[in-house]
């Protein structure tokens, strides 16, 4: 099996991403020639310039940014919960963001600039506050997982109610479209939200390093070595919430990436829960970028939604990975 360290993984995915970003600027409904690219570089306000700078590049950057946020959130979730099945949605924040977006759409705000995004963020923030309230009293991971299951179920039920009360099939279709994820027609401002999320994470992650690493040996060992579990829990919740909430606000629900990206990094040789956080960002970003490119390349009459494709492609790969790793996991903690 290939073994790479975290810096090499980031370098490889970073290079692949850079090459892909450049290549993907040529991908779109309008075919551009060399003269158009030259014009786009020298005259950003030209039609070719607007296609490159206002449509293709923001879309590609949003795809990478959303994947990167989900990869980081997934890696932190798995590290904190010490559970390979943990993913950014484990605490119900993604479900809360989805509910917020659905409510905004059903209230007729779908076309109002930023309304859906802000509503998604408000609801994910509300769910996060509930979780943080619990963390203050019960910082153990089992309580958080149970709470997350409860909040996800509640948001799911409220989402069903929103569908139930939806005024028209068009509105229902609009909500469904949002729930299936997309980075189509995203702007620089959306890409900025992804940068904001990753920036917040970059500020907080160094303080999580010792805690996530020592939690590998269990809570008692971590505490005996000076880890403040309440602080680690609160910081993990904030990080996961910000990243998951913003990713839903930018692109709707893009499943599977947060779960799979850390596992792909592990398969490449990085097992330490802290060291794999940023490589997971690159892996997740690359995954979503490739998925979004595939959507544009696939010859279908209706665009396949991003979240559908990430799950369709990622799930079989993940099953293969799980199959290969099964012996190690099963033998791991007997």
């Amino acid at each position: 099996m290939i073994r790479m360290n975290s810096k090499l993984i980031m370098a490889v995915f970073g290079l692949l991403t850079l090459l892909s970003l450049m290549g993907l600027l040529t991908l779109g409904d309008v075919s551009l020639g060399w003269a158009d690219y030259t014009q786009a570089m020298s005259q950003p306000e030209s039609i070719a310039g607007q296609i490159i700078w206002q449509i293709r590049l923001p879309r590609n950057l949003c795809a990478f940014g959303v994947g990167a946020m989900l990869g980081v959130a997934g890696a932190i979730a798995q590290g904190y919960f010490r559970n390979p099945l943990a993913e950014p949605g484990i605490m119900g924040v993604s479900a809360g963001a989805g509910l917020g977006a659905a409510i905004a759409i059903v209230l007729g705000l779908g076309l109002t600039p930023w309304a859906v995004e802000v509503s998604a963020l408000l609801f994910s923030g509300l769910v996060s506050l509930i979780i943080l309230g619990f963390v203050a009293r019960f910082p153990d991971r089992q309580t958080l997982i149970l709470l997350g299951v409860g909040l996800s179920s509640l948001c799911g039920a409220l989402m069903a109610l929103v569908f139930n009360l939806s005024p028209s099939p068009v509105t229902t279709a609009e909500i469904l479209g949002w729930m299936m994820g997309s980075v189509e027609n995203r702007s620089w401002a959306d890409a900025g939200l992804a940068v904001l999320g990753l920036g917040v994470a970059a500020l907080m992650i160094p303080a999580l390093g010792k805690g996530l690493r020592l939690l590998t040996l269990g809570e008692e060992t971590a505490r005996s070595m000076g880890v403040n579990l309440r602080r680690v829990a609160a910081m993990s919740v904030v990080c996961i919430s910000v990243l998951a909430g913003l990713s839903v606000a930018v692109a709707g629900v893009v499943g599977f990436v947060g779960l799979a990206a850390p596992h792909f990094v592990r398969a490449l040789g990085v097992k330490d829960p802290y060291s794999l956080i940023w490589p997971s960002a690159f892996a997740g970003g690359f995954m979503v970028l490739m998925a979004d490119s595939a959507i544009r390349l696939l010859p279908t009459s209706n665009d396949i939604r991003l979240g559908v494709l990430t799950s369709l492609v990622g799930a079989p790969l993940f099953v293969l990975l799980a199959w290969k790793s099964a012996r190690v996991w099963v033998g791991g903690n007997q």
């Binding site: 020592l214 939690l215 269990g218 505490r223 070595m225 000076g226």
Partner: protein, 248 residues
């Protein structure tokens, strides 16, 4: 050196340690022995600052309860009974977790030296999931030893080890004590406690029944009253009848 003054610890409604007073000196290996539920693990956790307690615990004259987390971690190392490891880190990476205060450049060499001491020098890059239970226990012991804390608390470190490694680990702990550490270890094997420990603390129902040199304190009465065994200590060896006697 640890001073424990009238310490009580409650686990739920149960008084797991009851007004326990003792003094544990540097340079000695202490064995904490007693039947299941006697309070051994609770006492070790309280000494590690992991459980709230009444009374006073002082480490080198500083109150454990008033210590910041970092100072407490620098003074006390703790090896829990549970050997769960969440991720398949290599043996070296696990030991390096005990060296987080050291320069990154030093860690790998120190970790490998510790692994040598527990007989796993050739397994530094092996994932812990690929090690046997006994080997994993030794990796975790190496992680604790790497911390070089003045006080080391080990909860049943011999579980899962074969007889030869049980003795070898106690020799390592005795060496740590000889180097000036205070080493406190909970044990179930009375024979090993007698042969290897400088002193034993006999616990029963949360009380410290007796403390002292094993030959002096483990007599027929303690064996009968505390462990429900009929036997004697003779020339450093414990002779116990096959049938336990009732505690009454």
């Amino acid at each position: 050196m640890i001073d424990v003054n009238s310490v009580s610890v409650r686990i739920g409604q149960t008084l797991a340690v009851d007004r326990l007073t003792t003094r544990l000196d540097s340079g000695k290996l202490y064995g904490v022995i007693g039947p299941n539920g006697s309070g051994k693990t609770t006492l070790l956790k309280a000494l590690a600052g992991l459980l709230p307690y009444e009374g006073d615990i002082r480490i080198a004259d500083a109150s454990l309860g008033d210590m910041p987390l970092s100072e407490r971690a620098a003074k006390t190392g703790y090896l829990p009974q549970e050997r769960m490891v969440a991720w398949n880190l290599s043996a070296r990476e696990i030991v390096e977790l005990g060296l987080m205060g050291r320069a990154v450049s030093e860690r790998a060499a120190l970790a490998e030296a510790m692994l040598e001491r527990v007989g796993l020098g050739g397994h530094a890059e092996t994932g812990v999931f690929n090690l046997s239970g006994g080997q994993r226990a030794r990796v975790l012991l190496a992680r604790l030893m790497a911390t070089q804390c003045p006080v080391m608390l080990l909860d049943e470190p011999l579980a899962a080890l074969d007889p030869a490694w049980q003795r070898q680990v106690l020799r390592l702990l005795k060496q740590l004590a000889a180097d000036g550490h205070t080493v406190v270890v909970s044990l179930h094997d009375l024979g090993l406690a007698v042969q290897m420990c400088d002193e034993v603390l006999v616990l029963n129902h949360g009380h410290l029944v007796v403390q002292g040199a094993p030959e002096a304190v483990i007599g027929p009465e303690v064996l009968r009253e505390v462990f429900g065994l009929s036997g004697v200590l003779h020339e450093g060896h414990l002779w116990v009848d096959a049938e336990p006697v009732g505690l009454g």
